[in-house]
Chain length 456, copies 2
């Protein structure tokens, strides 16, 4: 059977595939920080060259931000598109990394071998699972099994500002029968999963200005308004005592969970005590009348992701600062409209400002939630293929994260997205010491080979 040959080749080629991934991980393609612009470009070039080595017509496509990588290969049967992103999160606090985040290596750990380095799981390692499956397939068959479009983005970690315009401008080229997206994880680090419910994401940065310069708190303290006092009052008011978010109209469009989904999720026996215990917590922090799995998969959130103002160095300085800032993000579900929520949030902040204070806002992305229709038989075929590889029945699940591109494929291109990924809860994505289990990488590649076989 030819699938067996492809899987055997994947097994034999794993050391070389790992070396290729380490190569890609060495490129510090942090998209959010302009200092790394050239590195993002280098990562795109690397991918173009790698796709070309598989006989794929690939090229770097400019955008106002970091470039897209688009590749095409012809073939019979369904037209598949594969999406991944080559950019990575910033690495600070750097002092918490055990090694240089961009000097990756394979490490032995108590729970097996891991690939350690920024982007190993999110998303370079996951992106390469599909590329390596294609490489093995082509080596055994001489060609890929069907028409495939490769579509790699370099701005996913910075709100994807160029993505929607690029998809609209190139809609005909990017339309396909099914969009495969590899940027999610195994359920409970164990169960292969197809994610069918994703939260949206709205990012806002706010800066409050009170006096027009930093002041001495001895001279002005008590009489001049302190912007940190204003900012903390506003941020503290974003949640009520029951953990509900207070932005006016915030819950408009938030659906109640259908009973059958609720029952299915209960059947997953999610261990929230372990999930929280892993990070030294025990009590869920969200709405008091919701279960933890509902909070993560189906309820909207508001989090302050960063705050700063005044003197933050060693020692003490009795400054009364001129400015204080925060980065705030909202995870969205159902039909919540990110643009309406942005407007309402800004109005709420404006209305809460005391006399003399000013506020400025800057945008950091606004993507709605998405729910995937799974009636296409490809879903059940992929689910069976995943179950065969992992020897555990694969599940349709929700996901707390936000992959706005899933919604864009559906809404802009009319293409159904299928989200399959192999990350684990302890991969520390967005944190120091990010890793990707070698097993995730290996079985991830094998999973895609099985899915390609099942769909063609």
């Amino acid at each position: 059977m030819t699938l067996d040959a492809v899987l055997a080749r994947i097994d034999a080629d794993l050391p070389q595939a790992t070396d290729r991934l380490l190569d890609l991980l060495r490129i510090p393609s942090i998209s959010t920080d302009p200092a790394f612009k050239a590195d993002c470009d280098t990562a795109a070039d690397w991918l173009v060259a790698d796709l070309q080595s598989l006989g794929i017509k690939a090229e770097k496509r400019p955008t106002p931000g970091h470039p897209m990588v688009v590749g095409h290969v012809d073939g019979d049967g369904p037209h598949l598109l594969f999406y991944g992103h080559y950019d990575v999160q910033p690495v600070d606090p750097l002092e918490l990394w055990d090694r240089d985040p961009f000097d990756p290596e394979v490490q032995d750990t108590a729970s097996g071998k891991v690939i350690r380095g920024r982007g190993s799981s999110d998303d370079k390692g996951q992106l390469m699972t599909f590329v390596e499956a294609c490489r093995a397939w082509k080596a055994e068959h001489g060609s890929l099994p069907c028409r495939i479009t490769f579509f790699f983005e370099g701005e996913e970690e910075s709100g994807s500002p160029s993505l929607v315009p690029f998809m609209k401008e190139n809609a005909e080229e990017l339309k396909s029968d099914l969009a495969l997206i590899c940027d999610t994880g195994l359920f409970e680090s164990r169960v292969p999963a197809i994610v069918t419910m994703l939260r949206g994401l709205l990012g806002e940065e706010i800066t409050i200005t009170a006096p027009d310069k930093d002041l001495h708190s001895g001279m002005y303290g008590g009489v001049a308004m302190n912007p940190i006092r204003v900012l903390t009052r506003i941020l503290a008011s974003l949640h009520d005592d029951e953990g509900r978010i207070t932005v006016p109209g915030f819950y408009d469009g938030v659906p109640e969970l259908p009973d059958e989904i609720r029952q299915q999720w209960q059947g997953l026996a999610f261990d929230h005590a372990k999930f929280l215990g892993d990070v030294d917590l025990s009590v869920p922090a969200g709405e008091t009348d919701r279960t933890p799995i509902e909070m993560i998969w189906s309820r909207p959130t508001c989090e302050v992701n960063g705050i700063w103002g005044g003197y933050t160095g060693a020692g003490f300085k009795t400054v009364l600062p001129s400015k204080a800032s925060a980065k705030v993000s909202f995870r969205l579900v159902g039909d919540q409209d990110p643009h309406v929520i942005r407007d309402n949030f800004r109005k709420m902040v404006q209305d809460a400002l005391p006399a003399d204070c000013k506020v400025s806002f800057s945008e950091h992305g606004a993507g709605p939630a998405s729910i995937t229709e799974t009636s296409d038989p490809a879903f059940e075929k992929a689910r069976v293929a995943l179950s065969d590889e992992w020897q555990i029945p694969a599940a349709y699940v929700g996901c707390g994260g936000s992959i706005p591109i899933a919604g864009y494929f559906q809404n802009i291109l009319g293409t159904t997205p299928m989200l399959v990924g192999f990350g684990r809860d302890d991969d520390q994505i967005h944190s120091p010491n990010e890793k990707y289990d070698l097993e995730s990488f290996h079985k991830g590649i094998r999973s895609w080979a099985r899915i390609l076989d099942a769909l063609t």
Copy 2:
């Protein structure tokens, strides 16, 4: 008349005196930052050498922190002590300085010549007014007019941790008839003033920890407690809607202003519209039932001087951080006990912590307020001398700042402190572009010569 000769010499020597001050300002003696420890030592050495050049037996005296400088000169008449501090505030945000803070110069401005640089006003420039007055006196008379002890500290901007132990250990040596302290300003930048009411200062740093590592807000947002949310709620609760501070027992020991003082302050016709307008504000931020001058001179305050947590760089990072921190200071009046308030503040924070959250505290100084008894005839003599120099009747005033040393002289040594200084409201002490008017420096030197003459 010999005073005239001293004043004439001060006038003639002003360029050289200014050069000496510029020399001292070039030493970046930031006491709060360990990176500048050697520079603090260098500033102390500079002062020892300068005092020795006046025939004063001066030496650097070690402490667990930065050294003290102590000098003695014998003489008849009263025994005076002069206190100043040679350490300076940090300089960040550095990008807001128009020139290197430690490359000082004399600049022409619309309102006259100024000495620009960190420490020019707080406190190196003020400290040197007295030293230069002594230099001119000695040059004219061959000796100083009375027994004088010079006492310079290097930790005033970082909470003076070594000061009280040093004063206690050297109490006999430091006792005098009157302690002259030059670290205050002209009232409304114009009226010579002796400060008789000073606020105390309590500094606390708090760090809230929720999860034990930084998390991805997509995976954990909504279900894991965010320490920024906890910190902002706690900080926002420190003031009620009327601007009163909510720490339990905070107002214990806060006296009501005596009627005669209230009337005297009303007579000063403080222009709070201009005071706030200078920094682009218009509405006083303190207790709604107090006048601005009361808020600054006689009411306690609570200010957040710094806050930080999560991702604060360019762009956006959807991190749910493990920790969030703030620096909080309280200005104290009357008999408020800084140690009791520290305990009550810490308990209030502890009591407000949700499940799973931890808090750690670190101390940054705790000094009580002080009110000076002005019945010693030296006060009226000094007031007249100041009035003569500035050609404006000098006033006894309050001060929003905290100079805990005033209380220490009174309580530890039994020496009455007399606070005379020549700073102006726009000196930008603790801020970028700190300056000291050349007029403040010049007339400050002349003021001390007149005071020395009047007291001896």
